[in-house]
């Protein structure tokens, strides 16, 4: 019996990737329980101290203002405090599905959050939209450029091949 290199290569290449167990929770649990988060960010401790001191200074200044205001009575005004809405809660303006891939665009004013599942390469028109944030999940937040009008395309590609696209309107 003789087996050619091509026969063998074909056999090897025909073995598909199989689904993996989900390690995320198990590994994150082990990291949290072992106290590693502190170790991982140890070299940022000086920066954290500076940020902490800046916060403390800001709190002292704010308290000073508050005390001054309290000592001189003024007419009361009631103002609502606005917490920023998380990106994933922005209303979806478009969502397209491919073979296992989803491209969703959420909008908040001039900001557009582009989500792809699974994470893939995202392309957009830089003349109309500028990137201001990438989340670890792969969500990219784009901001409409001043003067940009009409609409713009967003494309999703894997290994250089376009798999999904959608159009967002600036209206």
């Amino acid at each position: 019996m003789v087996m050619t290199d091509d026969d063998l290569t074909r056999q090897l290449e025909s073995v598909p990737l199989i689904e993996s167990p989900d390690f995320r929770e198990a590994v994150m649990g082990r990291i949290r329980s072992s106290g590693h988060p502190k170790a991982a960010v140890l070299h940022f401790s000086r920066r954290r101290v500076i940020v902490g001191l800046a916060w403390a200074a800001a709190v002292v200044i704010a308290l000073g203002f508050a005390l001054e205001r309290a000592s001189s009575p003024r007419p009361q005004t009631v103002g609502a405090t606005m917490a920023p809405v998380p990106v994933e809660e922005w209303p979806a303006v478009t969502s397209v599905r491919g073979q296992g891939e989803t491209l969703t665009v959420r909008r908040s004013g001039d900001l557009f959050a582009v989500e792809s599942a699974p994470p893939a390469s995202i392309e957009w028109d830089r003349a109309k939209l500028s990137m201001i944030e990438i989340y670890p999940s792969g969500t990219v937040v784009l901001q409409r450029r001043r003067g940009a009008e009409g609409s713009s395309e967003i494309r999703l590609s894997v290994a250089g091949r376009e798999i999904l696209k959608t159009t967002i309107s600036f209206d």
């Binding site: 073995v15 990737l17 199989i18 167990p21 995320r24 994150m28 990291i31 991982a40 940022f44």
Partner: protein
Amino acid sequence: MSYSNFSSSDLYLVKEDELDRVAVERCLEGDLDAFGSLIERYQRPVFNTVLHMVGDAEDAREVCQQAFMKAFEHLSSYDRDRKFFSWIYRVAVNESINFLKARKPHESLNEKLEHPRANPAEHFEELEQWTHLHEAIMKLDPNYKAVVILRHFIHLSYREVADILNLPEKTVKSRLFTARQMLREALEARGHGHD
């Protein structure tokens, strides 16, 4: 595919590499969820690599977890000029090799890896072929096994395999050639091939 309304200078592309870079930076700043997203992105190919290296699903699960833990612990020493995926594969392959060294020889072939898609009733021949292939792979030296798995199962380029294993491309090609020769001989001895 038409890009007629985009000039190339107007295109901005966020690649997986960039997502990895951002996730690593976030993680080093203390955002643990960022590391979770890296696990999510790479757990499937890493698990498949380790599974074929160690040959047992339970062992692979443990080795994978260990590899991700190690990656987290050493994240600050990861060279960010290199691709994250090369680095995580390297950690996983090294963990697998360490595991194989520590494992007693008699344990290695007791539990066979099941072919992921073969149904024994309908595809007996395919299953038998796969079992023999798997046994032959398991008998390879881990250094040869790693090139076969990364190149043929994970479908990485020679350059990527070389980067992961920290070897010259030429060495990867010669190891792969030798590994395939050994696999062919083993399978021919089991009756596979043409007359």
